[in-house]
């Protein structure tokens, strides 16, 4: 009838999935071979694919899979970690509630009653989870973890410039989890080469990522039957088809794109052509021929050497093209045409009414145009000259079997998605209590929003007042203030809310001219110094003192990665507006990474434990403890096979020690991973868990619910 205890059922399901994915996760993970009903075989280490291939029947399992796939849609990575984290969380909750049950529930309560009681309890926990996910997690990201973040951008320039060596480390770690051990180094190097070959300037890389993501299928060619090590990058664009006519040409090669047939037809759609005599028919045919000939001659006169056609051209066009030394490629897909247009800025050629000696405006220059033979199949290879930031290059992916080539294709595409996500700022928002007394103030989860609104209504005046007070108090603490300003430059400015909400720390004292639209925000995160300069007058007027706002952002070199130390944001300033709680907006800046190997998890675990000790409410404590412990599950699996100094307990103790003594946390692993990805993953898992916990009963329906007029459907209930 029903599954007793949804938590137990979910735990069972999650544990089964966990055993499968834990064999594929991390650098030691192995491949899975999936067969399709059609008989094709596919190799995969992609958790999402794997879960889908299983075609699970259990309702909770299906729900979990749905959650995973919606997470993947957003971030493109982390399906396996999702499952592992989820099962650890469920296990933790199970253990925690078991303990409580023993102490709380008296013996004589009926089992059924206990079940419902449990459900109520889970509902609370579920709510606590959501509250945690919505309000507390962001706080930790912003206030605690951010000081450990590294960046993939080079520290030498102001602009966001991808650092080659960090990118290599990032990609290597990514491919470690995505492709077989045999090939991950090779593939990650290939990807890195490709990336840096395609990017014209190192700035505005997002554009390039977007383009590559959109046209990924057009930008790679799969060749089956060759060893993987034969894969390579070719300059220019490779079209997945052969020339209809190929005329070798050197030097100045001009290209036009046509979207219709060049040869005029007897009648166009919706018209009628009346033939009255044989002579008329022959004359019309002759005219058509002459007209085609003229157009092709005209193109030749304009130095056009290549004709790219969206449609199939009649034989006559092909014939004249060959006569005039024009190569022709027909039947391009719309994606290929639009890719070429994006790269070269070329618009389709419009057939001229009269073929005068005017220049054809819609032509582009090519560096070369030649056939490319890969495993006895011929492709068109074009040396497009780019007018955008993307310098066209194609990846030739070789592999002994189709399944492997597909896996590598997927992994490369995923890597682009991941990098693209990494280059975006991720907004964080959380409630913070302006508990002014102590530096280690724990944020209170704000439970009564009404109260806050009320406070805000009356807030404006008091802000001013309290603010003034702050200034006075702070006059002799200028050093601290300066730090805040610098830190501030690292943040995204909390948007419009700041005008109404009460800023509680110095870093949130936003000058009026900067709470503006997204544009300013972007500019902010791109160019740090200039924004800091903007503040200068304001600071001077308010503080009438030291306003040296040189970029004192502390930079520390960690091997070749930049360490951005954002110290004690907002915490040190004793603002005198007591009992004011406010809404903070911040962000994980673009390009933030952490070393792989469970660094993120151990860090968050550490801060959560610290936090849990201070929590007053039992649910909060439970939730924080459970999450903190579940997080350790991931590094435990990653270090499963390691021994001695590199075993998990050793790493764990070393990291905690470093954190307690405020030393830099050193990682034994060289790879890097995106912080935003990890953060999103944790969010999704918590949401999924909360969803699972709110279900109290799973009812199996034998058949589809029938429509209302079916009388006999009732009796089975």
């Amino acid at each position: 009838m029903a599954a007793v205890g949804c938590l137990k059922a979910a735990l069972q399901v999650a544990e089964v999935l966990e055993t499968i994915v834990s064999n594929c996760v991390g650098p030691e993970g192995r491949q899975v071979l999936c067969t399709k009903p059609t008989g094709e075989v596919l190799l995969s280490r992609d958790g999402g694919r794997l879960l889908e291939a299983l075609h699970l029947e259990h309702p909770i399992a299906r729900m979990v899979v749905a959650c995973v796939s919606s997470h993947l849609k957003n971030s493109g990575d982390g399906a396996k970690t999702f499952i592992i984290l989820l099962s650890h969380l469920l296990r933790g909750l199970d253990a925690a509630t078991d303990k409580e049950k023993d102490s709380l529930v008296s013996e004589n309560i009926q089992t059924h009653g206990r079940h419902w009681k449990n459900c109520c309890q889970w509902k609370f926990i579920s709510q606590a989870l959501l509250t945690f996910q919505e309000q507390v997690l962001d706080y930790f990201m912003d206030q605690c973890l951010s000081r450990h973040f590294l960046s993939v951008f080079s520290s030498s320039t102001q602009e966001k410039t991808l650092c080659r060596s960090s990118t290599e480390l990032l990609l290597e770690a990514y491919f470690c989890g995505r492709v077989g051990r045999n090939n991950h180094k090779f593939i990650s190097l290939l990807m890195c080469d490709y990336l840096f070959k395609c990017v014209a300037y190192n700035s505005r890389i997002e554009e390039v990522f977007e383009l590559v993501d959109d046209y990924f299928a057009e930008l790679n060619v799969g060749v089956i039957g060759l060893p993987v090590s034969d894969s390579r990058i070719v300059a220019g664009l490779v079209l997945h088809r052969d020339f209809s006519v190929y005329c070798p040409a050197d030097g100045d090669i001009r290209v036009v794109i046509v979207t219709e047939t060049i040869q005029p037809l007897f009648s166009s759609s919706g018209t009628e052509f009346v033939l009255n005599s044989e002579a008329q028919f022959q004359a019309s045919q002759f005219w058509i021929m002459e007209r085609t000939k003229t157009i092709m001659k005209y193109l030749q006169g304009q130095n056009v050497k290549l004709l790219l056609s969206r449609v199939k051209q009649p034989d006559l066009v092909i014939y004249y093209a060959e006569l005039n030394g024009i190569s022709v490629v027909e039947c391009l897909s719309s994606a290929e045409v639009s890719l070429i247009q994006r790269i070269t800025g070329l618009s389709p050629f419009v057939l001229p009414q009269t073929c005068s000696q005017h220049e054809v405006s819609n032509t582009a220059l090519l560096k070369f145009c030649k056939p490319l033979i890969l495993k006895s199949k011929r492709y068109v290879h074009l040396g497009l000259i780019s007018t955008c930031l993307f310098i066209p290059h194609c990846i030739v992916l070789c592999g002994p079997v189709q399944g492997l080539v597909e896996q590598h294709e997927d992994a490369l595409h995923g890597a682009f998605k991941m990098l693209w996500q990494l280059l975006k700022d991720l907004d964080l928002s959380y409630m913070t209590g302006a508990d002014d007394q102590s530096y280690t103030s724990s944020p209170l989860i704000y439970k009564n929003s009404r109260e806050s609104e009320l406070l805000q209504e009356i807030g404006n005046d008091s802000i001013q007042r309290s603010y003034q007070g702050t200034v006075v108090k702070n006059k002799d603490k200028l050093v601290t203030v300066r730090t805040h300003l610098i830190v501030y430059s690292n943040l995204e400015i909390p948007g419009v809310e700041l005008e109404t909400y009460v800023p509680c720390s110095a870093s949130k004292l936003t000058p009026a001219d900067t709470h503006q639209t997204d544009d300013t925000l972007k500019c902010l995160s791109q160019n740090k110094t200039s924004i800091i300069d903007d503040h200068e007058p304001l600071i001077e007027s308010k503080f009438t003192a030291n306003s040296t706002t040189e970029n004192t952002k502390i930079e520390m070199s960690y091997e070749n990665v930049q360490v951005t130390k954002s110290v004690g944001k907002g915490n040190t300033l004793p603002v005198s507006c007591k009992s004011l709680e406010s809404y903070c907006s911040s962000s994980i800046p673009a390009g933030c990474v952490l070393p792989v190997g469970g660094n993120f998890e151990i860090l968050l675990h550490y801060y959560l434990l610290k936090y849990a000790k201070k929590c007053q409410q039992s649910e909060e404590t439970i939730v924080s403890m459970v999450i903190a412990n579940a997080l350790l599950g991931i590094p435990k699996i990653l270090y499963k096979s390691k021994k001695g100094n590199y075993s998990f307990p050793q790493i764990y103790i070393r990291t905690l020690h470093a954190l307690q003594t405020n030393q830099p946390v050193l990682s034994t692993q060289t790879g890097l991973e995106s912080v935003a990805g990890k953060y999103q993953l944790l969010n999704s898992v918590l949401q999924c868990l909360a969803k699972i916990l709110t279900i109290d009963l799973v009812i199996n329906i034998k058949r589809q619910p029938r429509k209302v007029y079916d009388q006999d459907s009732e009796d089975e209930l």
């Binding site: 499968i20 064999n23 594929c24 030691e28 993970g29 192995r30 491949q31 899975v32 071979l33 999936c34 067969t35 399709k36 009903p37 008989g39 075989v41 190799l43 794997l50 291939a53 299983l54 075609h55 699970l56 029947e57 077989g180 051990r181 045999n182 089956i224 039957g225 060759l226 060893p227 993987v228 090590s229 034969d230 037809l265 007897f266 009648s267 166009s268 759609s269 919706g270 018209t271 009628e272 052509f273 009346v274 033939l275 009255n276 005599s277 044989e278 028919f281 022959q282 045919q285 009649p314 034989d315 495993k375 006895s376 592999g399 002994p400 079997v401 189709q402 399944g403 492997l404 096979s641």
Partner: protein
Amino acid sequence: MSRLEAKKPSVCESKPLTRERLRTTLSVLKGIVASCYGPSGRLKQLHNGAGGHVCTTSQSSALLRGLSVTHPVLKILTTSMQNHVSCFSDCGLFMAILCCNLIEYVEGIDLAPTTVIELNKQLLSLCTSYLKSEACACRIPVDFSSTQILLCLVRSILTSKPACMLTGKEVDHISALVLRAFLLTIPEKAEDHIILGKSIIVPLKGQRVIDSTVLPGMLIETSEVQLMRTLPIKKSSALKVALFCVSLSGDFSDTGEGTLAVSYGVSLESAVLDQLLNLGRQLVWDHIDLVICQKVIHPSLKQFLSTHHVIAIDRVGVALMEPLSKMTVAVSSLLLCNRNDTAWDELKLTCQTALHVLQLTIKEPFVFLGGGCTETHLAAYVRHKTLNEPGSILKDVGYTQTELHLIAEAFCSALESLAGSLEHDGGEILTDMKYGHFWSVQSHSPPVANWPDLLSRCGCGLHSNQEELSWSFLRSTHHPFVPQNSLPHEAASSANNLTLDCFTAKLSGLQVAVETANLILDLAYVIEDKN
């Protein structure tokens, strides 16, 4: 009415390699491919129970085409082999046997799969860099000034396919023909990049193999009537040819998307025919002697041309159009005869392989020593390297020397066992301790005191027992030795009757075999969709 059916859950099998089911099927497959390998390989007869075509073969491409494999892991192996063959035509069995061997030999070793894979990869790169290097003692540069090596290469390919049923004399004849056919596809005017022409194999079934021949140019099949009509033309100078790829049947297509209204009494057919005849007149005016059309020529036009002594050949098809339009480059026709259909099919496939191999050899002008010598030599080299310079192999990966030795032993055994697959008649296989070449002793030879007398030449034919050599059994434990470079290249290229293998195909086969084996060893689960 359509019905939505719930999908059946998939079957998930963990650690597929440890399952009995896979082990048995893998050994069956290995049995099949290994027994086909080499000149004395056993033939397989493929037929379906319901009658129909029977195929007798020992070639990987024909074998795999008829064989349906159900186990997903085996499917990886067989598709990998088919893909290799479609790229290189040759060395399919080599690749498949090596892959099976590699999987089989690491089975007993108690090491993590990741270690095995990583070390296999290191050993592979050791092998490929050796085989590509100048120091490699098992490859010979091809001397294009003589046909000796190319002829040996073709002959080795022909002898390794026993299902062609050729006698020694016939092998010599066909090898010469194949080489001639290939040489005719090389254009006379050499520019900076050569575009090779085509060689077309024309079937002449039921005749003696010795009757096979090669003609420059190409043959187009025509009816006897047409032939009779065209024969009288005798011309001393070259014929002028007009080649049409469009239809000359007077059909009228593609009038656009609108409608075409034809008034009463107007005959488009006659209008079109008029045009066709105009074309005919033009052709005659231009002194065209031969009109070839890919599609159909209108009978009236044909008639017209014929009365003007112009030969008209139509419906040649798209397959012949490409070589026809390349007529100016170089085309040759190989008229191939064999006794029966199945033997002819096998011979045709073999000749295609040989032609492809020759093309590959032009691109990379090297050949490997065949007859198992490359494999045993390579194994000796790997053994020697891993024992004496393990540091250079292990420099990037954090594994111990013991682990390396275990995997290297499995790797070398896989190579040697592959070479051993050449022997099907129960003979003994030996290797010499100087060059690391392959030697075999026939099984039913009389017992003699000095048994090296039984060894005449090594597998590739480069060395004879005249030299002061010492031998050891291939399957016994060896003392690693430094395999020495063979004879100087001049001597090698002048040596007659060498058994040689295609360089490109074998090198790629080696890489693909190791990569595929690694792929299979890396499998943690097999998820089978049962829908």
